[in-house]
Symmetry: C2
């Protein structure tokens, strides 16, 4: 297998999820799982993560069916990271019932030689210390995207600020952008985040799409309107993974490429939430993505 | 004054509004006020409405400063319609503290001869019986937009369905679309609304913009991202008024014209919410609208 041009690090989990209409246990989850599967439509990503000795072979086979490079996947003694969550009636809010860190607790990402020259890197949501540890190993990254969450903003702000100062793009959701910057409006928050270092800030707004901010201005990416959302878990990771996959495929990271990447990311994520875990992505074929991209572009077009 | 090509009927009110940061009483409000002011940037609209003998001359002067045709404005004995409302902390929800119908209770819109050949008509949110009464008087309307609200869906559904069956475009917000159709997803609701008669359905989503549905597909119009919202009252009427003003100015109502009209409507509404009542619109000049339209189009553009 050739050296991956995109390296993705993040959690690999076994999820137990309850939505208003269904309950599913023991399914594959984690930011690295969603992001790698999504990226695989554009490039063969190199995964960095850790699983325990309880991790089913079927999930490893699944990664390989997506053509994910597993050279950076570690196997450790103990339980695989696991998340149990429940969604409220409108799917807008969710509660975590249980998080088992398992082997993720002592995870020390060690990248294989074949990953070290990767130009594109996605640092999925995890302890910023681990994100820095990965970043330190990559020799000459061209474009690094980092994700984070409220937990790290609250308890490891110093290290998180180091990450933010070293990446090209930061992604987080609206409330996290406000929490991190202490600014009320999205425009002010984005402004403050750009001042912290990254060239681009990508704010995720769930069913309302996303917004890109840079010194070149703003871009508003609407979500693909869906009839039915079965499980929104991993939608942000799917989006970000597809964005990075698209950039790696085209070896471009200018504003225009990022905007096109966001359209593709939005579409891949719209498929992802149609089913639990990677079920929909597993059956998804490139022409379906292309068709929905055309549809979405048509819905964004003012001049017909 | 020449005959208006756009006729706007709706409420004219004296509002008392409390937001988390400010309280303003005795200010001009009502759907016809907001819609006419917004439309006036594109055409000189003919207003249809009623005011009581307490209605300040200053407000009439204000309408005239916007070049609104007042031939269809009735003056009646009694109090002007009045609305008192308070916004919650996040401005997302508001509560009505008091509604005084006043002269609006016995309002019988009688259109002046000069209005009867108007090709463009905006039936602002009010009792569907009144909307029908106005529609009956217009001789050969080319494009009629009707707005409505949950109250009329709940208590006068029969007449409302008659209105919907006779207009070219229906506008309402997301929750009202669900209430009226008993469909959960926006796509299903829009589908059901199109089956009720109109060629276009325009769903308002507040700070998340709006969506247009027609047999030609969907269009997603993002809201102009704002640093600061002072008072969202009348934003939907401002949006709809500007949409209709734009269509009347260009004498066009095809899909492309409506999409361009929505961009302009979104921009005029974004100015409107920067201050209470018509305060911001009063000082707003066309070049400011054009500049923000260019900015917003730039934020919607994928191909740079």
């Amino acid at each position: 297998m050739s050296n991956p041009s995109l390296v993705i690090v993040g959690s690999i989990g076994i999820d137990h999820i309850e939505t208003p209409s269904e309950k599913r246990g023991g399914i594959l989850g984690g930011s690295a799982s969603y992001a790698c599967a999504a990226a695989s439509y554009f490039t063969s990503p190199g995964m960095v993560g850790v699983v325990g000795d309880d991790f089913p072979q079927a999930f490893l086979d699944l990664y390989q069916s997506f053509d994910v490079n597993l050279d950076g996947l570690q196997r450790a003694k103990g339980r695989t990271f696991s998340w149990t969550g429940v969604y409220e009636e409108n799917m807008d809010n969710r509660s975590t019932l249980e998080t088992v860190l398992g082997v993720f607790e002592n995870f020390e990402p060690k990248l294989p030689e074949s990953y070290l020259d990767a130009p594109y890197v996605f640092l999925g949501n995890m302890h910023p210390g681990l994100q820095l540890h990965v970043l330190d190993q990559i020799r000459a990254p061209k474009f690094v995207l980092a994700d984070t969450m409220d937990l790290w903003i609250n308890i490891t702000r110093g290290e998180l600020e180091q990450v933010i100062g070293r990446v090209h793009m930061l992604t987080l959701n609206e409330s996290e952008a406000r929490l991190l910057t202490d600014r009320h409006t999205l425009l002010d928050a984005a402004d403050a985040l750009l001042k912290m270092g990254p060239d681009h800030v990508l704010i995720k707004k769930g069913e309302h799409g996303s917004m890109l901010f840079s010194r070149q201005g703003a871009f508003i990416q609407p979500a693909f309107p869906l009839g039915r959302v079965t499980d929104p878990t991993g939608a942000g990771d799917t989006f970000a993974g597809a964005v990075m996959g698209y950039l790696a495929e085209h070896d471009a990271c200018d504003e225009a490429a990022i905007r096109r990447a966001m359209v593709h990311g939005s579409v891949v994520a719209s498929f992802g939430v149609e089913a639990f875990t990677l079920d929909r992505l597993q059956s998804l074929r490139k022409p379906e993505i292309d068709r929905r991209v055309e549809d979405l572009l048509g819905m964004m077009r003012v001049d017909l």
